[in-house]
Amino acid sequence: MKDMILLAYRDIKERKTRTALTLLGIAVGIAAVIALISVGYGFRQSVTSELVEMGDLIMVLPGEASWGEYMELGRFNDRDLKDVERISGVKEAAAMASRTEEVEYRGERKMANVIGVEPQDIDVIFGDIVNTEEGKGGRGLRDNDHRACQIGYSIANDYFDEEIRVNDRLNIGGKKFRVVGILEEQGGFKAGVDSGIFVTRRDAKSILGNDDISEIWVKIRNIAEAEGIADEIEERIDENHKLDDFASAMTMGSAIEQLNTVFGLLQAVLVAIASISLIVASMGIINTMLMSVMERTHEIGVMKAIGAKNRNVLSLFLVEAGLVSAAGGVLGCVLGVIGAYVISMGISAQFGMNIPAMVQPEVMLGGLGVAVLVGILSGLYPAGKASKMSPVEAVRYE
């Protein structure tokens, strides 16, 4: 075998440029697959770890909800909120009333998401990462605020032609509001905060015209009880409204599960697309090997004349194909890792999302294996053709 590899290597050396191009074809295919899997895995990890951090939260929506799909069936009311708060194991429950409203700033009108929430509940829902930007003189929303709002980073900086500052006035749903604080940029899973305008529930009522609650966020004491509590929440609220399957209480655990399904599907599609380049690369190998077989017809004839068995010729060409594709696989792994980091940096530069490139060793090993497999499979036809040549005709071929 060692001699066979040496012999194949000698032949490869005779055709440097062509071999390099074939090798590159394989490398690009493998690199694409590895980079996509790695970035996809990193994306999944970063999202799920964020969700795991929020493991003590249950989101309750009035309607049938699963991630990516939501059909609103109505609204909650204060009685629902009180009932939820009374369930054992519940630490806090926070209500949110949100609706898209027309917002006017210095004569410019835009639609924006207005969120009514009790000031102390902001922490319950979004954690302690929501801070008023330092150095701009802003502050958080207070209980006794009247016609005051705290706005997300994107609302302040991107929505309107002119940047909104603390103490500027906004017209929300026909009523004047003062901006008391601007929130830090959140991004990622909490990107919704960036495009929200936060007001007290009292002010929300005056804008929206009712007391309805669009979602309830529940913080629980023990994460292990999450599923049980979620079931109880749904039961209580459904009872209040005399409806089956009205409320959907989603724990972060079930959210992670659903996200994983979606990601898995997305990744499968991406890898399938990347695999097309592998098919193209495999045709490249077949082509190169066929040319090599044709050019070496005379040589094959000589080898057979001096006693090479069909099997010897077959394995010589298979080893050659395997060598080229293994080298392509190694190069592909290197390019794939580099590619994963480049994509990761590109995403963070372009969209401000932090998606780490997570290259798993088993993915690289798999890539290498696939490369060699593709090489040998692609080499089978040309090598078979070479091995079946008649010695006398092949020797005569010039």
């Binding site: 001699d3 005779e14 080898m303 004349a305 001096i306 006693g307 090479a308 068995k309 010695p391």
Partner: protein
């Protein structure tokens, strides 16, 4: 011993059938030196290919040491070419990516001989044909005569009983040709059967037995 019985070969070119051998009967004893002469197209190379198990006859049979070669599989024929026959071609037919030692080792490689034994024997054979200084040169770095010496060493690598030369001196000058014939005759003196195809009367004069091919038929001289 090699025996050809009623050997015929017909080449088909489209619809035209070209007979290359017509009912050839021939017996070659072990250790014999036989020259086959004839003009080009007379069928002498075709006969050589049949005797060397490179090609199969259309009808008739070739027996090598009593074995009907028609009954053998492709791999068994490859085995006979590897173990019993050493080929020397007019065009030398060395593998250009391999150096002299590696070329000579190749038939042993196909025979499954270990790497050390191969290299040792290849070196000995190259010394025997007078190429001590050229062992690691590639064919392109060797003269025609030197390449033919490498080819002879390669033909000897598995110590075959039969040496077959297809115009072995056809591509070298007459002085080198004499030297090549000298080596081949020496191999015959060692007891190997030597079959040489040539159209050169001078080369044929070396052989105790000469047969002439004409229009695919054999005439003993």
């Amino acid at each position: 011993m090699i025996r050809a019985e009623h050997l015929s070969k017909v080449y088909r070119m489209g619809k035209i059938e070209v007979p290359a051998l017509r009912d050839v009967n021939l017996e070659i004893q072990d250790g014999e030196f036989l020259a086959i002469v004839g003009s080009s197209g007379s069928g002498k190379s075709t006969l050589l290919n049949m005797l060397g198990c490179l090609d199969k006859p259309t009808s008739g049979a070739v027996f090598i040491d009593g074995v009907d070669t028609a009954s053998l599989s492709e791999n068994e024929l490859a085995g006979i070419r590897r173990e019993k026959i050493g080929f020397i071609f007019q065009q030398f037919n060395l593998i250009h990516s391999l150096n002299a030692v590696e070329n000579v080792s190749l038939p042993m490689f196909f025979a499954g001989v270990s790497s050390e034994t191969r290299t040792k024997r290849a070196a000995e054979l190259l010394i025997k044909v007078g190429l001590r200084e050229r062992m690691h040169h590639k064919p392109a770095e060797l003269s025609g005569g030197q390449q033919q010496r490498v080819a002879i060493a390669r033909a000897l690598s598995n110590n075959p009983e039969i040496i077959i030369g297809d115009e072995p001196t056809g591509n070298v000058d007459s002085e080198t040709g004499d030297a090549i014939m000298g080596i081949l005759k020496e191999l015959n003196h060692e007891g190997r059967t030597l079959i040489v195809v040539t159209h050169d009367a001078e080369i044929a004069a070396h052989a105790p037995r000469v047969i002439r091919m004409k229009d695919g038929r054999l005439h003993e001289e």
